[in-house]
Symmetry: C2
Subunit: 253 residues, 2 copies
DNA sequence: CGGCAACTTGAATCAATTCAAGACACGTGG
DNA sequence: CCACGTGTCTTGAATTGATTCAAGTTGCCG
């Protein structure tokens, strides 16, 4: 629950033309004009500590961000403190688009690990829409992708059993992480606690723990270094009756 | 579970300039150019029977729609038939945007009542983005609004009690319905069965019935004519600890 | 009048929460 | 170097909440 604020670093280390994410097979090619506009769109970079709050519900942020590195999660709170995690953000994902469009943030975002964010000016979105219809289309596409993920999560929480839910969630996160090359030599380590899983699945911490234990007994996942590692990805998918998110190449703003 | 297909009516009764929805206070003003483009964007109207399937998961629809009148719901199925309702659609809402952008439909849509839909050509979306950045922005805004509603639903299913969930859902739907003037003289009648509510809240039919009964005992809602009527809107909001969706005026495509 | 769909209800069973406590690793200050 | 606090994970037991099973009611349409 440490709620420190984000630390800023003004210097920009990565010009968009040398973006380390862009060459990944997960992302579509951009032409020179688009790239150079994004370059001017980018205001700088922001370094964020683990546990820091990137955006707060109720605020009116002047910025939106793309994750360069690190993990975060989006959540909402009920007045009495009950927390629901809505989705996770990882490299290549846009953060704060909803707030940029609708004015006020309706959810908060917290870093799960140290992060590096590309900072964009909300005001310039209009210019993007005026002059770069392709990028505008991409942004709508990104919003739709988020919607699709939420649909899946809703199906999961509403209709899957606890064991299926846990299997689905871990497979889902691992699948996305692999898409952005987060599995170097070793399998991906997902930097979340069981409390995060509980707050994502809509279960209590105790029951989540017992459920994850079953997944570990079945040798589907492993818990190590305060994080989760997938042992048998296909086993998780099968248990969850999940088809996987047939992801084509996507835009990177 | 009647799964008849939609019946088409080619004739267009409502030119966009005389759209019965547009004058409603819920929608923002459009200038003449935008209006005339939308007019050419519109291919015709589609009449749909109650219970008909408008769009099916897995299909590649060439169209997207705006609801002129009537109600529908969006849902996903698990392989074994478990159903999760994701959201409801009512007049002024866009249907099938996600499918238009991503190619394949990832959810199905079924009519809750007879409906009238404006039909648009998916192909022309690109032209819209190229020539009408304001409308393009609107479409992204609409996608974000859907995302926001899903966030709320996720919070509800994940973290609210059964009674709070039911109260939230009914207040939420009623609030949206009132926004588009569906409460003429009498209170809105929401044309859904308790099975729909169960499949939205992630509860069994039996337990949903007992939960709704509690709401009726508290004189918050009423069940009549195979549908639901709100008696005490503020009471529902309070019980659900829901602030309401502070809706400003929104675009109507 | 029969049949079907939606709504009700009680009882038995199962799943999930809450309560309570302990284990373990890690970092910090004495 | 050790004591202490904190955060995370773990486990058992009691309780509550939700599901399933089984029947019955009601209203409507052909």
């Amino acid at each position: 629950m440490s709620s420190q604020s984000a630390r800023s670093i003004a210097s920009r280390q990565y010009p968009c033309e040398k973006c380390p994410l862009r060459p990944l097979p997960a992302f579509r090619e951009f032409d020179k004009q688009e790239l150079s506009f994004i370059s001017t769109f980018k205001r700088g970079e922001l370094a964020v500590d683990k546990g820091a709050t990137v955006l707060v519900e109720g605020s009116h942020s002047a910025h939106l961000y793309t994750v360069l590195s690190g993990w975060a999660f989006r959540y909402k709170l009920l007045p009495d403190g009950r927390r629901q995690i809505l989705n996770y953000s990882m490299p290549g994902d846009l953060i704060g688009l909803q707030g940029s469009l609708m004015g006020e943030m309706q959810h908060s975002v917290e870093a799960l690990s140290p992060m590096l964010l590309c900072v964009f000016e909300r005001e310039q979105l209009h210019e993007l829409y005026r002059n770069y219809p392709g990028l505008a289309y991409d942004i709508t596409w990104i919003a739709s992708r988020e919607e699709r993920m939420l649909d899946e999560n809703l199906l999961s929480i509403g209709r899957r059993t606890a064991l299926e839910r846990a299997a689905y969630l871990i497979a889902f996160i691992a699948s996305r992480a692999r898409g952005v090359g987060l599995n170097g030599k070793t399998p991906v380590r997902i930097p979340i606690t069981q409390q995060h899983i509980a707050d994502t699945l809509g279960l209590s911490l105790v029951h989540t723990n017992k459920t994850i234990r079953k997944l570990m007994d079945r040798k589907l996942v492993m818990w190590r270094d305060g994080g989760c590692e997938v042992i048998d990805y296909d086993g998780l998918k099968k248990l969850a009756r999940w088809e996987g998110l047939g992801e084509e190449r996507r835009p990177l703003i």
